[in-house]
């Protein structure tokens, strides 16, 4: 390689292409920290479990707690409400799910009286009504979203209106018979 013209010009192409490829890859690799910096930070993630004592909630009553900045509906359902939810398992549901699949058990005993769902309408994220005794509960006696008129049943399943999915069940477990940990 004594002269300034390379004996094999394709070598130069190889160097240019390799250089471009390396710049492309390193650019993409460096973009990730920038993009990821906008994802939930450690302190936000640290707040993502909540424990709730169920003892003071009497049958027929519902409470709203916050988990990850979102409302969580906890309803102590009456036998009649569970009954009607189970009866509708075979109905024409938009987002097919049985009521049994939406509740948890504790020590092999199904806790079907406790329904825990995210209080976020699956349409555009409004908070549905139905937690207070005076609220409108919709045609299916569960919840009603006032924004665009979605009706949910006593299992939090979508029955009527524009929402595509059932009210989501957050990840939670019973830590004792009267205590749950959400998240």
């Amino acid at each position: 390689m004594s002269s300034t013209t390379p004996s094999d010009p394709s070598k130069r192409d190889f160097i240019v292409l390799t250089g471009q490829a390396m710049m492309g890859i390193s650019g993409a690799l460096f973009a990730w920290p920038l993009v990821h910096s906008m994802n939930p930070s450690a302190d936000v993630l640290a707040l993502s479990t909540t424990e709730v004592n169920l003892e003071p909630i009497t049958q027929g009553q519902a409470i709203t707690v916050t988990w990850r900045g979102k409302p969580i509906f906890i309803r102590h359902r009456t036998a009649a409400e569970v009954e009607s939810a189970r009866a509708d398992d075979g109905a024409d549901l938009r987002d097919k799910q049985t009521d049994a699949a939406r509740v948890k058990s504790f020590e092999d005993k199904e806790q079907s009286q406790w329904l825990v769902v995210q209080g976020v309408c699956t349409h555009l994220g409004c908070v549905p009504l139905g937690q207070k005794p005076t609220d409108m509960k919709g045609e299916f006696k569960g919840w009603f979203c006032p924004c665009h008129g979605s009706h949910y049943d006593t299992s939090g399943r979508i029955r009527k209106g524009p929402a595509p999915k059932n009210l989501a069940v957050p990840p939670y477990q019973f830590v004792s018979a009267t205590r749950i940990k959400i998240g």
Binding site: V44, G119, G125, P164
Partner: protein
């Protein structure tokens, strides 16, 4: 800006600077002697008016940012402090809040003027497309600005609009979490919206600069849609159009001031004076008036689109609405390539003229549909008006030239102006 073409200035200081950096030569060329069609009507004021609005928004915005706190615990109270305690804070905030509406009024008139007179046609396609980019950036900026006071409408507007991205198949939920920086609209969201709300106006400013450069390369369109052919067709920008723009601007600023001083909250929503509450949704969430037509299009898709006779959903209703809403802006972006008629001005296109006014009414109707709760007849009116919007751009506009008999164009701007003067005199 080529060397040697410079005519020397009398003033020695100006001359000294201009020899080294020819800004005065540039100003003279682009804003003093710049040849401009001599037949502009008052609709040609709105570009300059929009430019002034941008400057007003940036100026008041910077001053407000010096007082505002982008933290969920303090944002609402800091806005109230601006209103009560900061010297002339109320004035700054009302100018800024109403200024957003005024900016959109000016830009919408400017856009419809372009639609009527065919300003998007060859050779101004890129000029027009840059304008659509500015409009999109303005929408993003206005949306994020409305979130900053952290009232109920701020919070729930942000929730509803960011939730739209959850409609994107597969990655939707991850994108929403990423946009929020958490699991709901919260402090990280407010922080980044403030950062972007401060940044985007400067991006707008840069695109406006390109818009103006492109304008000065191809020259302005005019009410006849006939390109200037000789010196007789044009007048120098100064003093003719500086004067006309200042006159139009003055009238517009009086209209603006009337809102700021006599009805500062008329265009706002009372719910935004209630601090944001993540556990209570307002009964009826509505965006600002300038988003209503787009909001109506967003809500027009109330049904899933499936493969016929199966339950396989191709496009969920929510995603369909999002696609249509962005499609409405996309239609404007590609309009230069949809309209094949060589005649620009609707004055010489009898059929297009009718369709233009129908489109105008259609957009107003969409605005009304967007303001109403989505119940009863308004759902169908919104859907029909949405359908018409797309039929206009994708069916009528591309095919109209095949059947339309255009009127004869004048020989030149000068000839048309003289004929009109003679007609008036007789």
């Amino acid at each position: 800006m080529a060397h040697g073409e410079r005519t020397p200035f009398q003033n020695p200081v100006i001359e000294w600077v201009d020899q080294r950096l020819p800004i005065f030569t540039l100003l003279n060329k682009e804003y003093i002697v710049f040849p401009t069609p001599k037949n502009f009507n008052f609709l040609w004021n709105f570009g300059a008016i929009a430019m002034v609005m941008l400057v007003i928004m940036i100026a008041t915005g910077i001053l407000l940012a010096m007082q505002y706190q982008p933290n969920t615990m303090m944002a609402f109270d800091s806005v109230e402090r601006i209103m009560r305690d900061v010297n002339y804070g109320w004035l700054l905030r009302y100018i800024h809040a109403n200024g957003a509406s005024m900016f959109f009024i000016a830009v919408y008139i400017h856009t419809f003027r372009g639609l009527y007179y065919g300003s998007y046609k060859q050779p101004r396609e890129l000029l027009w497309m840059l304008g659509v980019v500015i409009m999109l950036l303005m929408m993003a900026t206005a949306f994020m600005g409305y979130v900053l006071p952290w009232g109920q409408m701020s919070f729930w507007g942000a929730t509803v609009i960011t939730n739209l991205f959850s409609a994107i198949p597969l990655v939707g939920e991850h994108i929403v979490t990423w946009l929020w920086g958490g699991f709901s609209v919260d402090n990280p969201t407010l922080n980044r919206f403030f950062a972007l709300h401060y940044l985007l106006p400067f991006v707008i400013f840069a695109v406006v600069f390109l818009h103006v450069v492109a304008l000065h390369v191809v020259g302005s369109n005019n009410p006849l849609g006939v390109e200037p052919k000789s010196k007789a067709d044009t007048v120098p920008f100064h003093p003719y159009y500086t004067t006309k723009d200042i006159f139009g601007l003055t009238i517009f600023l009086i209209f603006f001031a009337a809102f700021v001083f006599f009805a500062p909250n008329y265009l706002g929503h009372p719910d935004n004076y209630i601090p944001a509450n993540p556990l209570v949704t307002p009964a009826h969430i509505v965006p600002e008036w300038y988003f209503l037509p787009f909001y109506a299009i967003l809500r027009a898709v109330t049904f899933d689109i499936s493969i016929p006779f199966t339950h396989i959903v191709l496009i969920e209703a929510k995603f369909g609405g999002v696609l249509l809403m962005f499609g409405a802006v996309f239609a404007l972006l590609v309009l230069p390539f949809l309209d094949r008629s060589p005649v620009k001005s609707a004055e010489f296109r009898p059929m297009y003229k009718i369709f233009f006014w129908v489109l105008m009414l259609d957009c107003i109707l969409l605005g009304f549909a967007g303001a109403k709760p989505p119940e009863g007849a308004w759902v169908y009116i919104g859907q029909a008006a949405t359908a018409w919007y797309f039929i206009h751009f994708f069916v009528i506009v591309p095919n109209l030239h095949k059947i339309e008999k255009t009127l004869p164009l004048p020989d030149s701007i000068d000839a048309a102006v003289r004929a009109a003067q003679a007609h008036k005199a007789s």
